[in-house]
């Protein structure tokens, strides 16, 4: 049986011995590896991937929101704002929703700048480009263009971009219930217009 003085349990080891040089090196290298792994997992994708996947949807939303002619300016403003903010973006869980939120804000800015309230109804032939897919009925989108801004945004986000209610709410900056109401009101108005 060892005498009490010779006993060296792990807890009683003096601090100097806890981390020898070799230990420090291995701890540091493990931390570096861990940091790299975390970095890889959370690293933002190249911005080009956002353009490839979402630029067409952003353009469709903007055409629905401000009309074909002004959509181009809003499109540029949307993506320049996105580029400015992108490197510091901490949550990349929903990049599409993030882009559409910016697009929505740019559309609102655009309306404010033009002082248009309510919006003039876009000419049907001018609205032909609103459709995200060519098979969509142009007449319907002309009516969508005539809806009040919030309803128009809700309808476009839902049917041109296939966003769920929660994402529409995020894009519009309102509650999911309010988004649902805007969508519902918009649809009701469109039904009336088509009847």
């Amino acid at each position: 049986m060892p005498s009490p003085g010779s006993f060296r349990g792990p807890v009683l080891r003096p601090p100097r011995q806890l981390l020898r040089t070799g230990d420090v090196t291995s701890v540091v290298s493990r931390l570096v590896t861990a940091a790299r792994l975390i970095h890889q997992v959370t690293a933002l994708p190249p911005f080009q991937a956002l353009l490839d996947e979402h630029a067409a949807d952003v353009m469709a939303v903007l055409r629905g929101a401000v009309g074909r002619t002004d959509a181009e300016d809003c499109f540029q403003e949307t993506f320049l704002a996105a580029l400015r903010a992108y490197p510091k973006l901490s949550d990349d869980g929903n990049l599409r929703g993030w882009l559409l939120t910016i697009a929505h804000r740019k559309a609102i800015d655009h309306h404010r700048a033009k002082g248009r309230r309510p919006l003039p109804i876009a000419e049907p032939d001018e609205m032909a480009g609103v459709t995200a897919e060519p098979e969509l009925d142009e007449g319907v989108w002309a009516l969508v263009g005539a809806l009040p801004p919030k309803q128009r945004a809700a309808v476009t986000l839902r049917y041109a971009c296939d966003l769920p209610h929660a994402e529409i709410a995020a894009a519009l900056g309102c509650s999911p219930d309010a988004a649902r109401r805007s969508l519902h009101e918009g649809i009701k108005r469109l039904r009336k217009g088509l009847a």
Binding site: P46, F47, A55, L83
Partner: protein
Amino acid sequence: MKASLERLTERAATEGLLDIAYTTADSPFGPLLLAATPTGLVKVGLPNYDPEETLEDLAARVSPRVMEAPGRLDDARRQLDLYFEGRLHEFDLPLDWQLSRGFRRRALRAIDRIPYGRTRNYTEIARSAGNERAVRAAGTACGSNPIPIVVPCHRVLRSGGGLGGYGGGLPMKEALLRMEGVGIH
């Protein structure tokens, strides 16, 4: 949509928001990925590497503001074309060395000074980089060269004259050296 995206790339560059512009360029060995920062050419991706992975790596290491912008790489593409035709012997392109540091960067700068059609061995590169005994590290520096072809790591051979290694595969190294008129034993 194409015109809108081109306009966006130009405006992003003007406003300092395009950190990495990239494009692909044809070569006799397959497509090359070319990427440049505002400082200069930062990456040449050889045909046997996945361009997607390379771009993700650049996004993580340099900046996620990565956009396809062929116009920003016209000069690099033109010079590479001429090089592959044997009509250009010295690249005149601004380079961005930020992906290499310390000894590796010094070794790559030494490699950058090897003239067309000439070779050095790993020991000579180690010496030029300031540590003659770091032969293995000089080999690693060659292997990690982010700007191959333009920074001609294919001109570095083993001390005995053996081919050594090459990120693009030994057949490519051999073909580049033959094209430059270097006899391979």
